[in-house]
Symmetry: C2
Subunit: 196 residues, 2 copies
């Protein structure tokens, strides 16, 4: 489970110093902000689901939550709209240099991505091999080709190189993943034209 | 601001007994579950955004949040996919019998709905007049026709009757709002056919 960033120091609790997933998340959040600011796409990270059990309730909207627990997300972290298409994806970092362990993605998140593409949405995962500083976009279709033909519990980096697209970091936007989606939509449109 | 349901009793904090929005939210959540269970649509409520400031961190995934605050949502509460379309809406109850106060919806949520429909998504609001037990779906297009032509800070119930569609409650699904969207898509398709 990932914990949100920005957890502050306090005298009586242990602090979460784990920054796992922070950098990729930050890159994607900044990219999504760029897309919104430039009216390109409206894609947001969903808030982390939290079960609140105790609240110090005040009327002036400054209520303090006194006890709460992290819950497992039922869907992927990011979704939104681009060129009229429903976009849905999950982003993960791994320190592994040779493969991406599938345990990083919950089973119901995989199921969710399957549902999305079956209903005409665009689904994918963004995976960063953080020790190598390589980030790939892998379409859900290619992800499921792998999981349905292999018993392996991790996807080799070579599969990302072969079937995915490497995302280069740049200044603005930080991680232009919609450029890859543009290519995908072009192929889709060409296929449609051929069918006519 | 709405607080999530299921807040438990505790000895040292004041409890949130406000059930504002609970019933409509419950109806919509159950309807969305019905849509998912029957592979009709994948529409979810976004988790309430919460800023966590203190965590009692444990390795066994049972970390307890000791201090956190409710944040304003940047988008609407519900989004997902239906027949390949991006769906986005906000649901609100009002005790007012004659009109729906626009203050119930944040300005950036209205802006969000505007962005969504401009980019080809299907956006709407679901409003329940809880004292009358009447629930309406109003398309974002008609919502903005109102806000752009009127200085009024609330939408009269008559406008919902005139431009919106009343949603009848039933057993399964509880509130079949996608039936209204079907009519909308039919009109859209017919318009497209005419253009050819």
């Amino acid at each position: 489970m990932n914990y949100p960033t920005g957890i502050k120091k306090s005298h009586n609790v242990i602090i979460n110093y784990s920054h796992r997933g922070m950098t990729l998340e930050d890159d994607i959040n900044q990219t999504n902000k760029y897309y919104r600011d430039n009216d390109i796409a409206y894609i947001y990270k969903k808030p982390t689901p939290i079960k609140v059990t105790k609240v110090d309730f005040r009327k002036d909207r400054t209520s303090t939550i006194k006890e709460a627990f992290y819950e497992e997300p039922s869907t992927t972290d990011y979704n939104g709209i681009y060129k009229g298409f429903y976009i849905d994806f999950e982003a993960k970092e791994t320190k592994n240099k040779t493969s991406f362990p599938l345990a990083n993605i919950h089973k119901h998140q995989l199921k969710h991505l399957e549902n999305i593409i079956r209903h005409g949405g665009i689904g994918f995962i963004v995976v960063r091999f953080s020790m190598l500083n390589e980030t790939y976009l892998l379409k859900a279709e290619d992800l499921f080709s792998f999981t349905k033909s292999s018993q392996r519990k991790s996807i080799p980096r070579s599969y990302f190189k072969d079937k995915g697209k490497m995302l280069k970091e740049s200044f603005r936007p930080r991680l232009d993943y919609l450029k890859v989606i543009d290519n995908f939509l072009e192929v889709k449109n060409n296929d449609k034209e051929k069918d006519k």
